[in-house]
């Protein structure tokens, strides 16, 4: 036992306070554990305090404290009125170490039942040494002696008429289901739990958490609820075993027959429990006589649970389960492998089919709805793949995908007359045939001449453009009225100040207003500053968004993004003019930690733009045009075939390049409202950026910020330095000319040494500065004004010096680390590093992106519901060269 605490309402507790205080504590109990135990002492009285109907709650829960798991056994009961005449409770909680429970074979319910809980507090607050604490009995005398004796569950027989229900409860845990027992106040729930736990293998008994009467909710495996109190928590209602003891007894229901229920009824002998000698934890010694089927099932369920639960919810149980897995894994492997193989094969077929389906659907008539259907179909298939092959009970995940409307179900067919069905089928087939023909023709045309404009829509779809009644333009943000002076000052953290000009721009969607921001930009070719467009200010949905037209690493853009914009009104020359300070909210959060320039290494922005005429034509006819949608085809060497992306389908692109091992580290780097730029970081070698926006362009870029994380031979420090010296050109050279490794190696090493030296100097300077700062803080009492000896300054002094000491320590450690690696890293490992770089560079083959389709929806007003109608927009191909020449597209 780690220790015990008792908490109740007293005028003065162990820690000196009044109210609900700790009145007894084990001396050796660690403060963190004690704090967690105190946090678990809560008793919301279901009845007035002092009422005998208030339940005595006994529970077992597993807690993660720091990086260790502890088991908490608790007893909480009503204690009448406190010293102040108010409600009171008496809570007694025991903490057990996870390893300690291996010696307690009887399980938590028996331990809780056998422990001498106190029922009244009357003494003075005190601490107790651990040696004086009561021992928890390790062995349950009711457990049958080996070998293979029969057990019975008398409490279950008494309460339900069938002892088999104990086996059903035990089975629920092995099946990964929670159990809820409706039990009246006369039922001894702890006894029921004790009997059910006897049916489980010894090594899983302590994994079962329970609550004998739920008044304070926590998600235990087994919980009992009193009918008069009702449910408090509702955790997994669709997959929960619910036993209403009164009903079972009344109806004389019999538990379903399976191995555990038969054991519980005494109809079959139990498996032999493990020997009870201390330290006998090896699973190999337990395994031979254990029930193989039970063990295999346990392993499957554990695997299922591991997949289903989040990583932080259960914590690290490796210390507990490691030894169990040693004997479970082979059985699981044997049982699961064939099913996994089948699932893999079927998934491979199905994913291929999904891709084809997606292509079909994306190009067919009702494009949005069908793409959505394909997506959901894909999701369900993926879930099927990731789910554990054995799943005992159906759940919401198992819902079958919706049948496609193109294939009506048989029941519906029987209701209709046959000619109607035939007609419908013919129509659908005709539409699909037309789409397929158009698609085939388009692909052929694209392959023949990539610069030709191809319509991928069947002619009938283009005729669906119908204007809707015009509505008054309703702009949320009236910048023109707010800014009569049309001047913009950058109040930037940088030293220099810039003045930018803003002017309204015609065009944009009906729900938008756009202004151009212009400023002086240094042109290296001309050697002087020239006025250029810097960004667009877009007012949309009540927000001001900034869309930068220059490269993201451009100095002015960086400053603009890091600035608070001070918008001047009135005369620009008047220094006393009123100023409105506002913060521009960006379409995307700024990626402060982006270590690599976003200049793509192998960008292949084969892109399409909307045909201006057709778009204008559409705009003229349809008011309230918004929410542009793109459908993009993506091809890459690592893919077996093309993949269709919709800009709302952000998950697909992530799943293309990530490895399963790194899936957990996947993070979104940004997010936004509809239609604005989307960027996703893929932590495998390179980044893929897919940008969609109201500038009617889609671009795909690749960065290398994550490349160096994948090189195992590099330390964090080295990879950070390497990132600074390996340029895009270097990687391109490695990719295109593998024979140039030696040259690259030399240049990289030279640059590395230089950078490492610079970094060393910087670290030394920073350390010296920190030490100077530390020395500059006067100690208390050294100066009556600046550094008095009063407690306030003393506390402040201690805090500041402690912080600085921490920083100095950290910096010193970093410096030592750097000095240690400076001489050695790139001498012995350099070749390996370069080889790995080369290997990774091969990944950087061009990514082929083609915009397949563009459509728009219309709303009646900003923020209002969409009318639901989609309008396709014909596209023209935009070749690479043209993109490069016009980096600042004008929005019309």
């Amino acid at each position: 036992m780690l220790g015990r605490v008792v908490i109740t309402g007293v005028p003065r507790g162990l820690d000196g306070g009044s109210g609900f205080q700790t009145v007894l504590r084990t001396q050796e109990l660690q403060p963190l554990v004690a704090e967690r135990l105190v946090a678990r002492a809560a008793y919301p009285h279901p009845f007035p305090f002092g009422d005998p109907r208030n339940p005595h709650v006994i529970f077992h829960r597993i807690e993660r404290v720091g990086n260790r798991l502890i088991h908490v056994l608790g007893s909480i009961r009503d204690a009448g009125s406190s010293y102040s005449g108010r409600s009171n409770y008496l809570a007694e909680l025991i903490a057990l170490d996870s390893a300690e429970t291996h010696g307690l074979h009887a399980g938590p319910a028996f331990a809780a039942g056998a422990f001498p809980w106190i029922d009244r507090w009357g003494g003075t607050p005190r601490t107790v040494p651990l040696s004086e604490e009561s021992l928890i009995p390790a062995r349950d005398p009711a457990t049958p002696e080996p070998p293979r004796t029969r057990v019975r569950c008398p409490a279950w027989e008494r309460e339900t008429g069938d002892g088999g229900w104990a086996g059903e409860l035990a089975r629920s845990f092995l099946d990964g289901r929670r159990a809820l027992i409706w039990a009246g106040s006369t039922v001894n729930v702890l006894e029921l739990f004790t009997e059910a736990l006897r049916l489980l293998p010894v090594n899983v008994r302590w994994q079962v958490t329970f609550n004998t009467c739920e008044i304070e909710p926590f998600p235990s495996h087994w919980r009992a609820v009193r009918p008069e109190l009702g449910l408090v928590g509702n955790y997994d209602p669709t997959n929960e075993l619910r036993l209403v003891l009164g009903k079972i007894r009344e109806n004389r229901s019999r538990a379903p027959d399976h191995e555990l229920t038969m054991i519980a009824r005494g109809e079959r002998s139990t498996h032999r429990p493990p020997p009870f000698s201390a330290g006998d934890q090896s699973e190999e010694r337990i395994a031979p006589t254990d029930d193989a089927a039970l063990r295999a099932r346990l392993g499957e369920i554990r695997e299922t649970r591991r997949q289903r639960t989040s990583q932080a919810a259960t914590g690290d149980r490796s210390t507990q389960s490691g030894s169990v897995l040693r004997w479970i894994l082979p059985a699981v492997f044997l049982g699961v492998f064939p099913l996994m193989a089948i699932a893999l094969v079927s998934n491979a077929f199905s994913s291929k089919r999904i891709m084809v389906e997606s292509l079909d659907l994306a190009l067919s008539a009702d494009q949005g709805e069908q793409t959505q259907r394909a997506r959901s179909s894909s999701k369900e298939k993926n879930q099927e793949f990731t789910r554990s092959p054995i799943r005992p009970s159906p759940s919401a995940d198992d819902v079958k995908p919706q049948a496609e409307p193109t294939k009506p179900d048989p029941a519906e067919i029987s209701r209709r007359s046959s000619w109607e069905v035939d007609k419908k089928r013919d129509e659908v087939a005709a539409v699909k045939e037309a789409s397929r023909e158009a698609q085939t023709a388009a692909i052929k045309a694209l392959e023949a001449n990539p610069n030709v404009m191809v319509s991928l829509e069947p002619e009938s779809q283009l005729k669906e453009w119908e204007p809707i009644p015009a509505i008054p333009i309703c702009n949320d943000f009236d910048v023109a009225n707010l800014l009569p002076g049309l001047l913009l000052d950058l109040a930037s953290p940088y030293q220099a100040a810039d003045r930018l000009w803003i002017s309204p721009v015609q065009g944009g969607l009906d729900s938008e207003q756009i202004w151009m921001i212009r400023g002086s930009i240094y042109d290296p070719n001309q050697g002087c500053r020239i006025d250029s467009d810097v960004a667009h200010l877009v007012a949309r949905d009540g927000s001001l968004l900034l869309k930068c037209l220059q490269g993201p690493i451009h100095e002015l853009v960086v400053r603009l993004k890091n600035s608070v914009l001070a918008i001047s009104t009135g005369d620009a020359g008047d220094p006393g003019a009123a100023t409105v300070r506002t913060t521009i909210r960006f379409a995307r959060p700024i990626m402060l930690n982006q270590p690599w320039p976003l200049d793509p290494l192998a960008v292949n922005p084969v892109s399409a733009v909307a045909n201006d005429d057709s778009l204008n034509s559409l705009r003229a006819r349809v008011k309230g045009l918004t929410a542009l949608t793109w459908v993009v085809e993506l091809r890459h060497a690592s893919l077996s075939g093309p993949v269709i992306l919709n800009h709302t389908e952000s998950h697909k692109i992530l799943s293309l390049f990530r490895s399963p091992a790194e899936a957990s580290g996947l993070q979104y780097s940004s997010f936004d409202r509809n239609g604005a730029t989307e960027q996703h970081r893929v932590p495998l070698g390179f980044d893929v950026f897919v940008s969609f926006g109201s500038d009617q362009k889609a671009q795909v870029g690749m960065g290398t910020s994550a490349l160096f994380k994948c090189i195992p031979s590099l330390t964090g420090l080295e990879s950070s330095v390497l990132k600074e010296v390996v340029t895009n050109a270097t990687l391109r050279e490695l990719r295109d000319a593998p024979q140039s490794v030696a040259n690259v190696r030399n240049s990289v090493l030279a640059a590395l040494r230089e950078q490492m030296d610079l970094k060393l100097d910087r670290l030394q300077a920073e350390l010296a500065q920190l030490k100077m700062n530390m020395a500059a803080i006067p100690p208390p009492g050294s100066d009556p004004v600046q550094a008095p000896s009063n407690p306030h300054y003393r506390a402040s002094y201690e805090i500041r010096t402690k912080e600085l000491s921490g920083e100095i320590k950290k910096k010193g450690s970093e410096l030592r680390d750097h000095e240690k690696h400076r001489g050695s890293v790139f001498s012995k490992d350099a070749d390996q590093v370069i080889e790995e770089l080369k290997a990774f560079a091969t990944i950087l083959t061009p990514i082929q992106v083609t915009i397949k389709e563009m459509s728009a929806t219309a709303t009646t007003a900003p923020g209002k519901k969409s009318s639901g109608k989609k309008y396709s927009i014909p596209l023209v191909e935009c070749p690479l060269e043209q993109q490069a020449q016009s980096p600042s597209p004008q929005v019309r």
Binding site: G19, G85, G863
Partner: protein, 447 residues
């Protein structure tokens, strides 16, 4: 001119949101665009930071419906939002329009904080709309379960002879607190409760309620949390004191040792006799001093310099010690024209309340001066307001289980005294155009 334009713009917008949100749970400030969405699909249960498995998963919204509802990974629209730091629910009302007014109620164990809060919220249905034309609504009813439970317990019993009480607020448990897992550490944040006060009915500004409306966020902590030994970085239960716009210190003079010493045997409160006589009296100035030190520490202020945050010293259980105070007879009406049905709207008599405050201050200076000096070191805007949440003494009954006698109140005798005055005083200090204030003794109220 600029203001007019801004106002015009505001009136043309659909929903006006704040640029920076203060989380009502962890009091972290974050920009609007960093708000997380709470998944709407039933399969997406459990969040890594929240030990309560009943919570839906939180996610960074990347896809939206045309109605601006975030789509979770199962394509279900989700309308609830969460704080990016603590992952706890942030009601939409906190994001809208104006900064939420955070109010903190603190005091010692058994000082009557929960009773005061209950009596105060009870007045939301009576004096606020009837006298001052202020409608008080619950913008997020799910968060106010605690206060509704209190109201049911105290005022819900139709039998006037029933003995009722509010259970002692416990320092832990899911009912009052929400747990968040920060690494291996679990921290508890008190559950916020929200009320929205807006001019309505005969209020002069009733035509434009949205402009003058304010959202109030309150917390009910256990008294144990305000003990000096409780304050640790891993225990943020009382951190709202530093973030609040105003504080209310519930001071129970019947448990103050100096008060009992100066006025022996003169209390009419049976709560101050058995069983409370048996307990060790508590020096509540320590609670106040602890709050003073903690708040200034969190705000990075000098301990000796008082804050500008208004502080109301709610001198509770007035019915037990009213005969000792220098207030002649009953407390004066705090609203103009009380009892006059012809009066269209009544004004809050600030001058009268402050006159009583000065009187109570003088009284406290005589019997427990440490409270006054500590309160005035904490804030330079202190008001001492006598209140009684129940207006009557409790009835002590023997405990059937043999413990200490229990103290409960007879339902029919409960008549709160001045329970709403602290909040009215705070609102008139913090806002303009909301609480109608009486200018002179007989002058009509102004809003």
């Amino acid at each position: 001119m600029i203001a007019d334009q801004l106002e015009t713009m505001a009136s043309r917008r659909g929903i006006e949101t704040l640029n920076e949100i203060t989380c009502p749970n962890c009091w972290q400030k974050f920009p609007l665009e960093e708000t997380l969405a709470i998944a709407g699909h039933g399969d997406l249960m459990g969040d890594p930071m929240l030990p309560n498995n009943q919570e839906h998963r939180r996610f960074v919204p990347t896809r939206f419906t045309p109605e601006c509802a975030a789509l979770d990974e199962m394509d279900t629209p989700s309308f609830d939002l969460a704080c990016p730091r603590c992952h706890l629910l942030v009601p939409r009302v906190v994001l809208e329009r104006r900064d939420t007014v955070f109010l903190s109620i603190f005091g010692g164990v058994g000082s009557g904080k929960s009773y005061f809060l209950t009596a105060l919220s009870r007045q939301f249905d009576t004096s606020f709309p009837q006298w001052f034309g202020l409608g008080v609504t619950e913008p997020h009813p799910a968060s106010n379960a605690i206060i509704r439970d209190y109201q049911n317990r105290l005022f819900g019993n139709s039998d006037p002879d029933a003995l009722v009480d509010i259970p002692a607020t416990q320092p832990s448990g899911n009912w009052h607190y929400q747990e968040v897992q920060y690494g291996g550490e679990v921290r508890r944040h008190p559950r916020p409760m929200y009320f929205q006060v807006a001019p309505t009915g005969r209020h002069p500004n009733a035509k434009n309620p949205v402009r003058f409306m304010r959202t109030i966020c309150l917390y009910d902590n256990s008294g144990e949390h305000f003990h000096p030994q409780w304050a640790k970085p891993s225990r943020p239960e009382t951190e709202h004191l530093a973030r609040s716009a105003a504080m209310m210190f519930v001071f129970d003079p019947t448990r103050e040792p100096v008060f009992l010493e100066n006025c022996p045997g003169s209390l009419s409160d049976s709560q101050s006799e058995a069983p409370a006589r048996a307990i060790a009296p508590e020096n509540q100035a320590v609670i106040l001093a602890t709050a003073d030190q903690n708040v200034k520490k969190w705000l990075g202020r000098e301990i000796a310099a008082p804050l500008d945050t208004p502080l109301v010293v709610v001198v509770a259980k007035f019915d037990a010690w009213r005969h000792l105070a220098r207030v002649k007879g009953d407390l004066p009406p705090f609203a103009t024209g009380l009892g006059d049905p012809a009066s269209a709207i009544q004004g809050f008599r600030v001058d009268e309340v402050e006159r009583v405050s000065r009187s109570i201050r003088e009284f406290l200076l005589t019997v427990c001066p440490l409270i006054v000096s500590t309160a005035e070191r904490l804030s330079r805007r202190v008001c001492y307001i006598p209140t009684s949440a129940t207006g009557c003494s409790p009835v002590t009954t023997a405990n059937s289980t043999g413990g200490a006698p229990s103290a409960r109140f007879r339902r029919g005798s409960i008549r709160p005294i001045w329970a709403e005055v602290p909040l009215l005083w705070i609102l008139q200090e913090l806002t303009s155009g909301l609480v109608p204030v009486a200018v002179g003794k007989n002058a009509p109220p102004r809003a």
